[in-house]
């Protein structure tokens, strides 16, 4: 019930907001804030009641929804989803506060769509029925299209439709895979399917079948992550989206892709996963061993390619967007390792990247609201005028480039550690990404904050209380989980051990 409320309270909020008069802007914003704070409070209660030691799904609800296809409303959480759900409900109010001043038109529709988006995201992470999972996955598409398309920057129309088309393309392939799984397994229930897929001789356990289905799901999720070569929508969408939406995009929507990879591809399709992560398994099926490096190579490309692209950017937001691609590569690499430290690192990196990228996009938004441009070379010496802002930005940069003691380090280190035992060369090459990451962040820091003050920004104002309010909770998490990551790892190590790991 608690989980159901968390999913649908934002939806109720949307209906309430839509009933409010259009010009009561303050009321609309406050109502939205309330309806995003309720899920946060529920989330805290959820966390309080969450048993870290348990192997079972928690807060499970399972009722029949559509008889004709045995579709259930089946939700529940385990270690894989709990952190992401909490991150989602935490970012809800933060994004509403971040949108408080800089949404100029149609605030009612904006807030309504935002609440719908939150329902889709929380629902997606909670869903345990494949069909429900898909419906929530797609439910995030529509609000996102409008949020980018209406409130975005100059090229918003192009960015919005590109995002929509890419994601829909991925998800229709996922749909075919899903139907194929249903027809073989006779159910949409993810836990049941996981059991069936591991039974010897079951139609679902057939490696060839699993490989094809794996590909269908994989492309669907890969577009979302985004994994090279499906990533080109991301820089456009990020650059055009308003600040709060960029935050959601980077922190949550990208995680939907990797979460799906773990929940479906990893847990449900072990044979398919093996084919793309284990050269021996590929050879055993009579294919070239190269297939077994497939996922790791994609992770490696993401890391290196994303980092080098980021290095080349002069647009602050685009830089952060490409750095996201790079950091998601560590998640893929960690998953490709399929061992405990690799997967733990991947999941840790998902959460931490969510927090850090949210901070980075909020910070870009702060300076953009003041200067109305994001050209990195167009600033200079802001540190003298905005010391607090500079401090917080430095924290976020350091966390993102993987400074030990901050949260970004732990996930990446574990992912690399896990991957090293299987793919030595690729892992070593991947560390290039970290070096380049340090380079572009430090270089940006220098160009924007250090040096002589650009006279144009003589009168630029310091970060205000509202903006600090959005950043502080994230900053605290960055430090806490950097110093004491076990707090986070304990929440999901039980779930990791349940995955079909290889030593």
């Amino acid at each position: 019930m608690l989980l159901t409320l968390m999913i649908f309270v934002p939806l109720i909020g949307m209906i309430v907001v839509l009933c409010l008069p259009r010009n009561a802007e303050e009321t609309i914003k406050r109502t939205t804030l309330v309806f995003t704070l309720i899920p946060l409070i529920l989330g805290v209660m959820l966390l309080a009641g969450y048993d870290r030691e348990s192997e079972d799904l928690q807060y499970e609800v399972n009722v029949m929804w559509i008889d004709a296809f045995k579709i259930h409303y089946h939700i529940g959480i385990d270690g894989l989803s709990v952190t992401l759900i909490l991150l989602t409900v935490l970012l809800g109010p933060i994004c509403v506060i971040a949108s408080w001043r800089n949404i100029e038109k149609g605030i009612k529709a904006y807030m309504g769509l935002f609440l719908l988006l939150e329902t889709g995201m929380v629902g997606f992470f909670a869903a345990l029925d494949l069909f429900l999972f898909y419906v929530f996955f797609e439910l995030t598409l529509l609000p996102m299209y409008f949020l980018i398309g209406i409130w975005g920057g100059p090229r918003r129309e192009y960015a919005a439709i590109k995002f929509f088309l890419y994601t829909l393309f991925g998800s229709v392939l996922m749909l075919i895979a899903m139907i194929a799984v249903y027809l073989k397994g006779g159910t949409f229930d993810i836990p049941t399917l996981i059991t069936l897929a591991q039974q010897d001789g079951h139609a679902l356990a057939n490696p060839v079948f699993q490989i094809w289905v794996f590909l269908g799901f994989f492309i669907g999720f890969a577009v979302k992550v985004p994994i090279f070569p499906f990533h080109t929508w991301l820089p456009d969408a990020h650059v055009e989206a308003p600040t709060a939406i960029s935050v959601i995009l980077a922190a949550i929507l990208l995680k939907m892709g990797t979460y799906g990879l773990i929940r479906v591809n990893f847990a449900m399709l072990p044979e398919g996963m093996a084919f793309f992560t284990d050269p021996e398994a590929a050879v055993k099926l009579g294919r070239s061993a190269t297939w077994g490096y497939g996922l790791a190579i994609l992770g490696f490309i993401n890391i290196v390619y994303g980092s080098f692209c980021a290095l080349a950017q002069t647009d602050f937001k685009k830089l952060v967007a490409y750095s996201s691609i790079g950091h998601m590569g560590f998640v893929i690499l960690g998953l490709a390792a399929r061992n405990e430290s690799g997967v733990t690192g991947a999941i840790l990196q998902m959460f931490n990247h969510g927090v850090i990228s949210a901070m980075l996009f909020l910070l870009v938004g702060v300076v953009y609201d003041r200067a109305h441009h994001r050209e990195i070379n167009g600033f200079g010496g802001l540190g003298t005028k905005m010391p607090i802002y500079t401090g917080i930005t430095t924290l976020a940069f350091m966390a993102s480039l993987g400074l030990p003691g901050l949260s970004g380090f732990v996930g990446e280190a574990l992912a690399l550690l896990g991957a090293y035992s299987k793919y030595q060369v690729l892992t070593i090459l991947s560390t290039i990404g970290i070096v380049v990451g340090a380079a572009y962040f430090l270089w940006t820091l220098q160009r924007v904050f250090l040096g002589k003050l650009n006279p144009k920004y003589e009168g630029i104002s310091e970060i205000n209380g509202r903006e600090i309010l959005t950043l502080v909770p994230l900053g605290i998490l960055t430090i806490v989980f950097g110093v004491y990551p076990s707090l986070l790892i304990n929440m999901f190590n039980q779930a990791v051990s349940m995955l079909p790991l290889v030593p």
Partner: protein
Amino acid sequence: MTSLTNIQSIPYFIPELILVVFAVGAILLDLVNRGRNTERVAYLALVGVAATLIAVIAVGSSEKSLFLGMIRLDSFAVFFKIIILVATAVTVIFSIKSEELDPRMKGEYYALLIAVTFGMFLMVSSKNLLMIFISLETVSLTSYILAGFLTHNPRSSEAAFKYITYGAVASGTMLFGFSLLFGLTGTGDVVQISHRLTEMFSAGEAYPLVVLVIITFILAGIGYKMASVPFHMWSPDVYEGAPIPITAFLSVASKAAGFALFIRLFYSTFQASNIVGSVDWSLMLSIVSALTMTLGNLAALPQQNVKRLLAYSSIAHGGYLLMGATLLTPEGIQAILFYFITYLFMNLGAFFVVVLIANELGSETIDGYRNLWSRAPFVAVSMAIFLFSLTGIPPLAGFFGKWWLFMAVIKQELYWLAVVGLLNSVVSLYYYARIVKAMFLESSDETDAISFSWGNLALLVVFVVPTIIIGFWNTVYEVSRASLGRIVG
């Protein structure tokens, strides 16, 4: 299976009789009114449709053959009759609202609309080749007149002319196919034909080539009604030229009747395994299906006129529906039935918005929809819901319809067709989103609010609500399942 005699059949034929009475009544009322107050005729037509609906439900499905085996009254026929009636009622209401029709002519227009409905009733229940042809012609002839109803508009006349030319060729071809089939089997009853064909194939006496020719010829006639490639050429011009209410009607009711006829004929006649084994018409159909949706979607991409865009989109939807028909499995047919329920609401809803905008702004182009969001938010949001539902985005009804169709296809392991269909859905997003983009993302110089009457908005709600909730509603799935019933009998 015994069939009832003519006299015994009459009680089961009451819905059709009511339609005939009201068609004649509409003409008489128009005559008495001398072409004034045509709204009265419209209301009479609505009463007629309502009475027929009640009669259809009251008579129910008796799974009987009527008139010495000419038509069959089963749940399948009842299902399509209800779909057609709803579409007719909606068309009448659209026509009252529509300002493009000549008010003096509207009286006979409504009479013709009821006559078309009568023809479609026969089409969905015919089980004899002769009856099939007669019903098809009844529908076609009246449709030609309706399509050309804007006598002052050359496009409308062009539409009617194209419609009639294509129609004549198509039905002639089909008739030739029928005559061959009759010559081969010596009977017009579809079930008997099936038995004969099966016997002939198992005795090795049949010529597969002849059967292939027959099937191809019949498909030409029915494909024309379903607007499937390569017999679709008439439909964009007709859809664009015809009055908007008629376009809406043709794209839903005519298509539904065509599919009903097709399913009944093929399911009864050519379904036996040894026929399918030697004449692979299902492969032919899957290719037609793939071509139909691809062509419909690609042709819709560059359209600037919303009506024409929806015309091509409706060709594409015909292609999706054909996927369900490729193997005529019960699963596929049920999916088609369900899809028609969703299609009824989303497609008519979209056309209704087109009517409203054409009335208010006099524009049918996408540019005319610019900034509609701030001018008429409710209409814009409704249109977006219809269009996204047509694309097949969950949680809207269209998604669930497509979902079932794709499931039927994948169950038959026609993976290539499923992939083609789904990629087509992605393509279709692009042009549907162009309208959405114009409505929500683009600004225009016109910013003053457009107000619509409460009646119009209420009618819009009637389309919007089902488009949102059908997918979550178990009963609709059950109805679609149950309506397949026993087509063959």
